[in-house]
Symmetry: C2
Subunit: 399 residues, 2 copies
């Protein structure tokens, strides 16, 4: 069996943790399996590198920033190989040049295009544990690139796909995917399995366990993902295509406090207004999430949308520059709460049941957005935990 | 004109120094010249990396050690590129993969074989300053290697040779090459020029300004070297083939306190004894310098040699294991003092004059070794400064 294991920065933050990871990988290796390990930079080292760069140039060229970033993962993999060798197991570290992780050209946010796995296969055939730098790639100019947020997860899944690995284990500081955040909902329960689509919705909603690009990739190539803890041996949650599993209507509740609502009131009611507005935001790389358009007074229309707290002020500025309207309002004290579940598609009344739970708690819903397997509401951030618990109870997710 | 400039770790140890180097390079660039910059790791960062590795594994695999080492130079070049960009000059950093610095396979002490300069030339044509990681290379397995002590000097000279650069400037914390160490000999004087051979002898003798491999390479490819300070604009010392320069008989006095004498007394007087002894040391990578063999008592022979202080105990152990002899003595309280000069070849009595200077100071000579342009004596380490001054005065080097 070939297993790809990915460990994040906290899992390799110091000597003890490096040895903990080394031992886990060796355990797998000693079962006779082939083991590929993908690592992030140690602890907060990437942040240290950013500080270092900003001290020199507050606006460093992205190409050079990627050149600097990549040393973080290279440090992790070299030290990990040393730890495994110390434990008597042959191990070798490889960076993006050595694995030939081909990506698009965009610095800071590249996408993997192709991986040449010859070197990796060759090292595995020699019965070595192969330790690979996550997050980094090489573009057509032969320059380092990085994959953006959650990049190491993507590296791991892409390697698992390219190597036809039997599974790809993503190690985190939680036991797996829960029906809700256990810190906020006491009755939250770990799920044994979720589908790719459910995981995708959860990832997008900031459930924080897996980055959505890695889930998309896993879905596309049918890579069996396992989310599990690096701190214990619990089984974790398996993410795979739903086949014969018993379908739950709703599999989880997620919340994302990093949401702001921008409401533009009194826009001209003519064609192209929405296009003009959202096109301008897209050009500045502002991701817009929920969108709501309604008819305003005196032949005008109103458009509301959500974006991240960070982008809200810039969005306000851009709209102020290019649009004509009566007023604009930004509210950062809002949060998204969502229910996700593949079973929703075939079950009517799921959304209504969620709204009822919120109504019972007297929580005001500001916006609503739905997909085939998700219902999201925007509420005041102060009500988030109460809302999560109410919804979690309503759907009896803890049972 | 194309100039390769190499700066060591102290020259890029912090933000101010990075900007100092950036400004110097930009000054050259603004004259219309093409500029290639070779950097070492910042300050004591390489030592920090060693500590980090030893904490994980006190005997780390050399291959992984090189993987770890290379991040030091990569950090320097990325930050330097950011600084130059901040100063408004286009600059790009490149590592050993990007430049294709092909080396032999030996980790930790590889030798450069070939450099593909296409990428460098291409960037120079776009009028960028090209900043390259010193010390590192890539071997035929596509693994990082490092060039051993003084490796960045070698990188700079090799690049200058491959690019047919007009000169290769090595920046250090001293003004150039002196007739003796100015901290020890008050009357020491900076030399405007030295020949490759003189520089080679000085480097080998621990004068510490340039590593001998870089000088050898410069000689082989006729690269004009300049040794100068990164702290001022003084002219420095030019190292080149002696052509029409006025020849000095002796150009400098050098001392190397890192020497130990190993004396093996009462070896069998039969063929192959010296071979057996030095072959065993060579196999353990112990470099032997001065060798003296004399006839001992009762049909035996004695062999004395010098090596570094670090290697002395191991040498004693190895010899103890494989040879038969009466006694062995290791003395680490000795040092080498040498005079170097291309003019020596054609001047008789130079060695005698040196011995006279030491005799006048009542300094005992323990061993003597000579080359065409060098005379070296081994003396007690406590006499080194007195010996250097006496010899320096005798040859009137300060005038």
């Amino acid at each position: 069996m070939l297993v790809v294991k990915k460990f994040g920065g906290t899992s390799v933050a110091n000597k003890e943790r490096i040895y903990n990871v080394a031992n886990r990988c060796i355990e797998e290796y000693k079962k006779g399996n082939d083991v590929v390990v993908v690592l992030s930079a140690m602890g907060k080292y990437t942040d240290e590198l950013i500080d270092m760069a900003k001290d020199i140039n507050e606006n460093p060229p992205k190409r050079e920033m990627d050149m600097l970033y990549t040393i973080g993962e290279q440090m992790s993999v070299a030290l990990m190989a040393m730890a495994m060798n110390k434990l008597g197991v042959p191990a070798i570290s490889l960076n993006a040049f050595q694995v030939a992780m081909h990506t698009t050209s965009v610095y800071g946010n590249a996408r993997l295009k192709r991986i040449d796995v010859d070197r990796v296969k060759n090292e595995l055939e020699q019965r070595k544990i192969v330790i690979i730098t996550g997050f980094q790639g090489v573009n057509k100019y032969d320059d380092y690139t990085t994959l953006g947020r959650g990049g190491s997860d993507t590296t791991a899944v892409a390697l698992a796909a390219a190597l036809h690995a039997d599974k790809c284990e993503i190690y985190t500081d939680v036991d797996g995917v829960y029906t809700a955040d256990p810190r906020k909902v006491k009755t939250a329960r770990k799920l044994d399995t979720v589908t790719y689509d459910e995981m995708l919705e959860l990832a997008t909603l900031g459930a924080g366990v897996l980055h959505n690009r890695s889930v998309e990739l896993a879905k596309k190539f049918g890579v069996q993902l396992v989310v599990r803890s690096s701190l214990n041996n619990n089984e974790g949650t398996v993410v795979k295509e739903d086949t014969k599993m018993e379908k739950m209507i709703v599999s989880g509740v997620a919340a994302d406090p990093d949401a702001a609502r921008v409401a533009v009131v009194g826009l001209k009611d003519e064609p192209g207004v929405a296009f003009k507005l959202f096109n301008a935001l897209a050009k500045k790389n502002i991701n817009v999430d929920m969108i709501l358009q309604s008819v305003g007074r005196h032949g005008t229309k109103d458009i509301s949308f959500t974006c991240s707290d960070e982008d809200a002020d810039e969005a306000e500025k851009i709209i102020g520059e290019i649009m004509q309207f009566e007023s604009i309002d930004v509210n950062k004290d809002v949060a998204k709460v969502s229910i996700v579940g593949a079973g929703m598609q075939t079950n009517a009344g799921v959304a209504a049941k969620m709204f009822e739970a919120l109504y019972d708690e007297n929580i005001n819903i500001r916006m609503i957005s739905t997909s085939e397997i998700r219902v999201t509401v925007l509420i005041d951030v102060k009500n988030v935990e109460r809302a999560m618990n109410a919804v979690h109870d309503k759907f009896e997710l803890g049972e």
